[in-house]
């Protein structure tokens, strides 16, 4: 039989690997559950910070420009910047919660158990949820915050009314945080 080099290579690999029966449908289970947890921490903080910084950037540039002619708007509209900053803090909170769960397994012999997989996927999901919901919220609050700063400069009466919109934008991030906290506290690696 004429074997192609690729097949030869795979056969060789299989002989060498420590789980000879590995197939593609088992791919996910080959990944260490702790890896999933670590990725959860990464997503929680990294994507949240991305959202927060983008929001501050969008708000900040407009706010600074508007404040040149109307300096009174600067202190009030700092709330928009704080709102964006809060999104980064949500990310930090979740990252801390998740990393507390990443203690080394007590029984290495029986590792990984099904519970470990559940926890690993759960933590990954929790991190992704909080990261991307904060990214969306950061964009929303940032774009709104900049526009509200300009509206406030033109007409001070608009600030409080428009600010309600920003609170709802922030609520998007908050929803992600609540779901993530519930998710991550309801499970843990096998101890």
């Amino acid at each position: 039989m004429n074997c192609s080099p690729v097949i030869t290579f795979i056969e060789e690999e299989q002989r060498m690997t420590f789980v000879p029966s590995a197939k593609w449908d088992q791919y996910l289970t080959m990944i260490d559950p702790y890896n999933w947890g670590a990725w959860g921490v990464f997503l929680a903080i990294a994507i949240s910070v991305l959202g927060a910084s983008w929001g501050i950037f969008l708000t900040g540039t407009s706010l600074v420009g508007g404040a040149v002619k109307h300096p009174r708007i600067k202190s009030k509209n700092l709330i928009s910047v704080l709102f964006c900053e809060a999104l980064a803090i949500y990310g930090i909170i979740l990252a801390i919660i998740l990393q507390n769960k990443l203690a080394a397994p007590l029984h290495p012999a029986s590792y990984p158990e099904p519970q470990d997989f559940k926890a690993g996927y759960g933590f990954f999901a929790a991190g992704a949820i909080v990261g991307f919901s904060n990214l969306a919220a950061g964009y929303c609050v940032g774009a709104l915050g900049g526009t509200i700063a300009l509206a406030d400069a033109q007409n001070p009466a608009l600030f409080v009314k428009c600010f309600v919109m920003e609170i709802f934008g922030e609520a998007i991030g908050l929803m992600g945080v609540i779901v993530s906290i519930i998710l991550s506290t309801s499970m843990s690696y096998a101890q």
């Binding site: 969008l58 407009s62 420009g65 508007g66 900049g146 700063a149 400069a153 033109q154």
Partner: protein
């Protein structure tokens, strides 16, 4: 949208701040109550104009007021232009091209028509002072030296941003014989077309808001060219020694033209005549009226012909209607009103470069208003003091 705020958010905020510094109805009411021109300074010191009027020596003239207002506008422009990123920087540059055309035409008409007379060096400076500061560019001083328009092109303009407009419109052979107003309008035609194309490239919402403004500008020029060409024909008589400005929207309105009295007589210029074929050539080639309306405009010989030509466009029909109802107003005044409305509309759309253009048009209109009020006070013609177009 995101990149607009990220790149131009600061300037957009700044611009909207400037916009709220435009004179309000109350400011105009105060200004029109003034007894003397110096009283106007007191009121203007309470507005955004404070810093430019601070140092003005006390007996104010209309001229010095106009210069101060222009200086303020230039300051605003520079503070927006300096930190601007592309494509806003290019967009703002496009705004200055219009002033450049006016300056070139001003210098052309002053130097070329004085070819016989001596031109001392002091004159050059005086001439440059009359140019709009936004339209100054490197090498503009050399313009005064040029003896013929062709020479002018080869010496100076070939390096200026206007070179492509010159190339597109004018063949150098007959440049010498052409009247400066025709040159101005040909350049403007190319400039508007180029600006329009550039704005279309910028995409929504700039293409929409700027498209409307520039189409209006093009149509207004077409109509003005038509109306002015009748006036020219009427003046092409031995006693007609007034040079009629085809357009007085730009720098010319500030310096050469006083709003209350008729245009300053300029004996050097023979009254130009503008044949009908020429008219078609200088009509801008885009806008609501082009091509059907402009071909009708070409044949129009009186107001009825004009009305028939613009009848298909509601906005211009309204303008002419309005002018018909108020004989006090000129067509130009009605167009100014319409322009102010358009410019204010441009501020309603966010994430658009149109607001930058609109601000400077509004500022220009405001300068005209202040000069008009000052002129009316100086000449004691209070009954006409309210005949301006407020920018609100």
């Amino acid at each position: 949208m995101t990149s607009f705020v990220a790149n131009h958010g600061y300037l957009d905020g700044l611009l909207r701040g400037y916009r709220s510094g435009l004179l309000t109805a109350a400011d105009y009411a105060n200004l029109t109550q003034c007894e003397t021109v110096d009283d106007m300074k007191v009121h203007l010191m309470n507005t955004d104009y404070a810093n430019v009027f601070q140092d003005l020596p006390s007996p104010l003239t209309t001229q010095s007021i106009a210069e101060a207002c222009t200086r303020k506008m230039v300051e605003d422009f520079q503070s927006l232009r300096q930190p601007a990123l592309e494509p806003l920087a290019k967009f703002l540059d496009y705004i200055t091209y219009g002033y450049m055309i006016d300056n070139i035409v001003l210098i052309l008409s002053e130097t070329l028509h004085e070819r016989g007379t001596e031109n001392p060096a002091g004159d050059t400076q005086a001439l440059l002072d009359r140019c709009h500061p936004l339209g100054l560019f490197e090498g503009i001083t050399a313009l005064c030296v040029a003896q013929t328009p062709a020479e002018l092109y080869h010496l100076v303009l070939v390096n200026s941003p206007l070179a492509k407009y010159f190339l597109a419109t004018l063949s150098m052979e007959n440049l010498d014989e052409m009247h400066v107003e025709v040159i101005r309008n040909l350049l403007y035609k190319e400039y508007l077309k180029d600006f329009f194309r550039f704005c279309q490239q910028l995409g929504e919402p700039t293409s929409e808001s700027m498209g409307d403004i520039l189409k209006f500008e093009a149509d207004r020029r077409s109509i003005n060219i038509t109306v002015n060409s009748w006036r020219m024909q009427a003046l092409s008589k031995p006693w007609g020694h007034q040079s009629i400005q085809l357009t007085r929207f730009r720098a010319s309105h500030l310096l050469g033209v006083c709003p209350v009295q008729p245009t300053r007589p300029d004996r050097r210029l023979p009254p130009p005549s503008l044949p009908q074929d020429d008219r078609q050539r200088i009509y801008p080639t885009f806008g609501e009226l082009w091509p059907e309306g402009t071909s009708k405009l070409q044949d129009a010989v009186d107001m009825d012909g004009l009305r028939a030509a613009v009848d298909s466009v509601e906005a211009y029909r309204d303008v002419l209607q309005q002018q018909n109802e108020n004989p006090d107003k000129t067509i130009e005044d009605c167009f100014f009103e319409k322009e102010v409305q358009n410019c204010l509309l441009a501020f309603e759309s966010h994430y658009s470069y149109g607001a930058f253009y609109a601000y400077f048009r509004l500022k220009e209109q405001e300068t005209r208003n202040i000069v008009w009020i000052a002129e009316c006070i100086a000449q004691n013609k209070r009954d006409r003091i309210n005949h301006f177009t407020p920018t609100i």
